[in-house]
Symmetry: D2
């Protein structure tokens, strides 16, 4: 079964332009998923779904938007992973079941979807998609309670892992986070309307006001009478995802009640303290390395320069020359400014290193532009373990820090020096006392049990991508 | 719940170009459905689905065909009905269930889908499409037998109505017809490969040899060991659809073991005997009226002339002029040849009359071209009842013969005379002794019980389109 | 230089929906060209052009039509020839020159475009397309007269060959035919508006009334004051194209003041007299052979049967199977009805034979369907010479009748007998006394000098396609 | 006549992958024009053109690239201006004329195109596009010299204004700049191949080495024998465009032999000296304001912060909500980070102010994010005059600095203070002694005469967009 991966979700209740607001919200969350986008609107009676492949700005036509009538809506943008690109995996997922129509949008990844699915199938259920989200819907449909929220709670007690969810059911909009609160989800207000979004940058474009984050383990039920909070899990020990701060979220967002930009700036400052260097300039990797690079430059007292320029017109397809011209790699996306770099010692600041293949090319490009010394600084610890809660990290074998020492990574990068932010430094920046984050990707300390692997000798999974063999039906690609 | 409507289905087993052959078959069956087309191929292990909206020649790219590997495949073309145009209703329908992957292609319409669906939903099933085909799959998934064919038989005992089906399951291709045999389905051979098609014209393009029709109530199971026949319903009383002969099937096909062209020719001859006339020429309505018109002309000894010409470049969209130019209607598709018709008395031969709105326009066009007399002859009886077994007839209220006498229809058409083929004549042409056909559309004598309607005072349904209110989720249109 | 080839042209003057009417006209003339379509409208001041590749019904969107304001318009559909498929060769051709804006739509082919073009280029002209039409515009631009029609006459005196033309210039619509009148062009009325069309079937859809054909050598000038006729060539000896009657025009059209259908019927009757045969049935090749087959059947007293069925859903692309399935050829378009043909002797009637490759496949298909004897009858004489006046015939080497005797063609077709309509019979059908037709394709008797070929030993050109080497710029294909 | 506007051009000679290299070059110059892109390749005999609307990455398919054979090629990307969006205005422009095929790509704008065009038209020329580039081609075609370069020189003596040009003619690639050198053009080497590009960032992606800029008034003729330089204008007084440095060029390019990034950094430093301020942070406007902001921050000793975040997923279409949500303007593209800005005094640095409407919205957004004080700093002088040499500035009436004092602009922006870089400061940064730049947009001191306007009382043109009424033919939009 494929994982749902990290995504972006939106909900709007009680606004005459609910679908339009959802569109704006998805537009702001586009960085959380570019593979597909969808909106389901409702007037409280019937659901109106619309989904498409690709970007929000390409999927929704004015005519499509006009069809999405009603004063409530939910929306979803899906992250692109290889091989499962098809409209039937686009969300929101919409079904008819015992209580009527139901629409769901899911951000995160369940860790026990496979055994539940096997059990459901053994008892006669059919599965049409490869999304773990379909498991949640089956559990709700099989629950016997007459009220949706009660069925939902019954279903949630069965599932484990990372899930921030929004539903349209009957005359209600429901939004919730798993007890660990792995993925963000926020509440806002726009006049009398309630809005929900993965990140607060969506509220900014919707002109909505941020109210608070939905708490880990909290179910918020919104209807015409107002909103109420249900906490079926009692007291929880939240472990929100640290990688949202490191890389995934937009710097202009609040998540988990903190400013992403401010946190990244702190990472950069701490990195400068942990790994100081003598250099002529600090160069950020555009655009993800900007805030940390600024923090590093400020703390280190080294001038910041934009020595790497990003090409803003990257298209879907790039035709590589055939014979003589080779190894473009990053050159299509980035260019080094020779006149800035030539003869200088530089600090390159990036947010993280996964496989290091891109980083190696960038170091080479900067070297060719004439840098005398290249010091790579990474504003996060070495990634040594795959994520099972929604971040699209590769197999453990492909994580360079899982199999190489830091010196080896430095040598692979062909950098003069390499410094990672320490886990302790990272925690210090987060002010981690009341709130503990999930840093399993750096430590392997998984807060929720992960699926065991076939032939799993050392109990450490080598890959989150093949949790189970869903080999019956290959993914479809239609026109 | 929407009905599946009449469609075209194909199956191929044991040929290295199974998907390509299926493509050819669907191409030949395009007249049975232009809304969507799909193929699922298999190598006996995993299923590879591909579906698209529109014509076969537009949907399948060379790249798509290359992905459809394996030596077996099934295919489907879907008839277009208003409002339900979406990829999730395209077939083949592919799911994962207890026995693994399953693909199904369905031609026909179930009459008791609604109560079964309500029962399934009440017990926790979820429905993702608006097709009655999904009911069949749920029934198979809920059956407990360990072998697919046994589960299938259990499922078939629950359903009623019209269904010709092909499945890919495990290492088998299964093809079957309902006990009434409403819809056609034929067996053929191509070398060592087995092929299945709604009409034999598909075999012609595939270069396959027609073997026999699959019998009403027969399940044909094809695997590497060969094919075997299962007849779970015992002795049946078949009632194949007469309308396939009148209009739906291609004239170059055999269906129900008879030549469609030859039957239509007989209809025309019988029509000439029942409704002779003095006229200068017989004019067929292109192209559906051709065979009957030839028969009529031959029997009546009146010259056949192509007085109406069809425009072969009808596109998807036609932009109607705004103000001064009006009432195109049939003129976009047909034109009358003034020099042929002027001053002549003509016999117009068509296959059937549904609403009579198009016929009225054609009569007017022929009159304006100068015809002195217009005698309309229809090679089928008056349609007075809607079809619940797959033919896309409208509401009873819209069937002109249901609410008007023949004289009134003639007056509405503004024809000088009007003659329908009698039911007796029709039966005589079919040589109906051993084999009885379904002519419920002419008589209301439904061989399988039809759904009762809410507030159904006179026990005659007014429309097959609103068998049940599936109002929970509106149909989706995606990009 | 590429030839313009046979095309369809439309003109409308003095109607508030001029562009919409032109659209309807082009829609009716779609059989004369499917490669590109264009309309230029005008309000008497500025020209509004719109062109697109492909079918009329695909090119023009409602938004595009709304932009085409003004009470006058001209339109063009272009025939598809290999390799020159680009928007810059789409017409109408629109330029700015000394008298302002000018739009032209051209049907036909000039025979002396090449030397004129060479002369123009030598004196500083630039050419942007590969159309001979561009030569006409240059000649008009280089003329010195202050009035458009006078410049036009000056230009026409330079050019030779086949040309029916419509222009929008200043406040006038001009329509004309070359002195030989190779290509048709007709005048009609719609209320107070004047309309012009290649064939009268366009008038039928536009709801316009046919007035008369524009005469060979006649220039019709239409403006707000009315229309007037200019005949700068004095008395001419018209030689309209016989092939328009044999194949090109629609049967529901009048061209050269005669009914196409009626003429084809006569061809069939005459063919039956010249080449009678004993047979069970006459089978037309759909759809072009229909009228002649009806004439043949009537004259011969042999029943007509639709033994060949055409697939109406032919798309742009057809994916041929790779290995085992082969030689589709005509099978994708046509199918033979076995039950009609089996054991019967048949007469196959078609309009013409060019290369005979398709005919050979059809004879084979009919033979495989079980025909005991196959007698091929062609309603035109053997084509022995290429056309230089607009019909897209191939190289002389590829014309089977140019290099083979009739017996050899029959053997190639594998027919039991073969009969062509004689030239005398053809002439007799046309009632050719006052009016002489061009039958150069049957006789090599070219009424207008054709370009001599490089190394042209026997003074008979082998191909009209390479009149001159326009090798400087290859044709463009853009997205 | 429409102006060609600023564009990007590429030339490659003597490389087996000439078209692929040109593709890479255009990809790098995409910021210079997103409306259309085109490549013409050649093997020295025939020209192969390909053009498309939109981005390079969307226009060129692998199939299209394969057709572009030959070891030389030129390419063009066109800047988008309202209303003239059509393929016939896409470049390279390709014609056939007296010396054979000719392809041209043009960056810049002629100031005397209109009278030349009128003269050409009066003498019989026809114009098919609305580009002033067509004038150049006509002049070359009308010249009498037998050698291309001589004809070219004759043509260049007639034209005035801004033009950097590349040609493919016969077996030569020709590249040149106008005597003023308004627009950049550079020479590079890749192995034995010669390459030409508007900016050196193209060389970086092509893996080519920068050699030198082509000099103002220099014609570089490249063929198999090598390259030679022709300087027909003798000694010139170059006035390259300062706005290329301020805004247009990419920061990683060299133009006019200087690093764009380094110059912008200097502008920022000088701006800080001219307009110092007390503030908590310097915020660049992404991305154009980055280098100047860094320079300002460094010089002023104020921390740089990324207070404005750019949305990287801006699509072609953005559907604005209808009623309640309004005035998106910049919010779709930019967002202010509340947590960074709240309660702080900020310096906003941008490169230039044209209409000030966007700037006003940004100031408002920053104010709403909580800034206590907003000091706007612009790294160029006030734009008071339109450009006639290729930069797409609006009508004089729309240039806010043309009609308002600086205080009024500040009030309109609702900023607390506003500082422009002075002209003197600008010149100082450029080290302007040997080289004089064109700063007509700041001074109205046009180095080449500009077209006089109809009713031009004060001899100062109000708009460069309506230099002349080319009203004969409206621009076309085709499918």
């Amino acid at each position: 079964m494929k994982m749902t991966e990290n995504c972006g979700i939106i909900g709007v209740f009680g606004h005459p332009e609910a679908a339009n607001l959802t569109y704006l919200g998805l537009y702001s969350l586009q960085h959380r998923g570019q593979e597909s986008a969808g909106i389901v609107s409702s007037d409280g009676r019937s659901l109106r779904p619309y989904r498409g492949m690709g970007l929000v700005s390409e999927d929704f036509t004015p005519e499509a938007m006009r069809r999405l009538r009603g004063d409530r809506a939910i929306g979803h943008v899906r992250y692109s992973t290889t091989g499962s690109s098809h409209i039937r995996n686009a969300q929101p997922f919409t079904v008819e079941y015992a209580l009527g129509g139901l629409a769901i949008a899911h951000n995160g990844n369940l860790t026990n979807a496979e055994p539940i699915r096997d059990d459901l199938v053994a008892h006669g259920s059919i599965f049409q998609s490869t999304m773990d989200t379909e498991v949640i819907v089956h559990l709700i449909a099989h629950a016997r309670e007459p009220v949706f929220v009660d069925r939902l709670i019954t279903a949630l007690r069965r599932i484990q892992g990372a899930y921030s969810l929004v539903f349209l059911s009957g005359d209600q909009l429901i939004a919730l986070r798993d007890p660990n609160g792995f993925r963000p989800l926020n509440l806002g207000r726009l006049g009398h309307a309630s809005v929900v979004a993965s990140e607060t940058c969506a509220f900014d474009l919707m002109d909505a006001r941020y109210v608070r984050e939905i708490e880990p383990g909290e179910i918020v039920v919104i209807d015409k009478k107002g909103s109420r909070s249900v906490k079926p899990f009692g007291r929880t020990e939240p472990t929100p995802c640290i990688f949202e701060f490191i890389y995934f979220a937009r710097p202009d967002s609040l998540i988990f009640n903190q400013s992403v930009y401010a946190v990244r700036l702190k990472f950069g400052r701490e990195l400068a303290r942990e790994h100081p260097t003598q250099a002529d300039m600090v160069i950020p990797l555009p655009d993800s390395g900007f805030p940390a690079a600024i923090g590093y430059a400020q703390e280190a007292g080294i001038p910041l320069e934009m020595g790497l320029i990003r090409n803003h017109y990257i298209g879907r397809t790039f035709i590589e020359p055939e014979q003589s011209i080779r190894h473009f790699g990053v050159k299509v996306k980035l260019n080094a400014i020779r006149d800035v770099i030539r003869g200088k010692s530089v600090v390159l600041v990036d947010d993280s290193v996964v496989r290091a293949t891109t980083g190696r090319k960038i170091v080479k490009m900067v070297r060719q532009a004439g840098a005398s010394q290249i010091h790579v600084r990474i504003s996060s610890p070495p990634i040594t373990h795959p994520c099972f809660y929604g971040i699209d990290t590769p197999l453990k074998e492909e994580l360079i820090a899982a199999t190489h020492t830091i010196d080896e990574v430095r040598d692979y990068l062909e950098a003069d020096s390499l410094g990672y932010l320490s886990l302790e430094g990272l925690k210090a920046c987060m002010g981690e006392n009341g709130c503990r984050f999930c840093h399993a990707c750096f430590t392997g300390d998984y807060p929720v049990p992960i699926p065991s692997q076939p032939g799993d000798a050392e109990d450490t999974p080598s890959s989150p991508m093949v949790v189970s063999g869903y080999h019956g039906v290959e993914d479809e690609r239609a026109r």
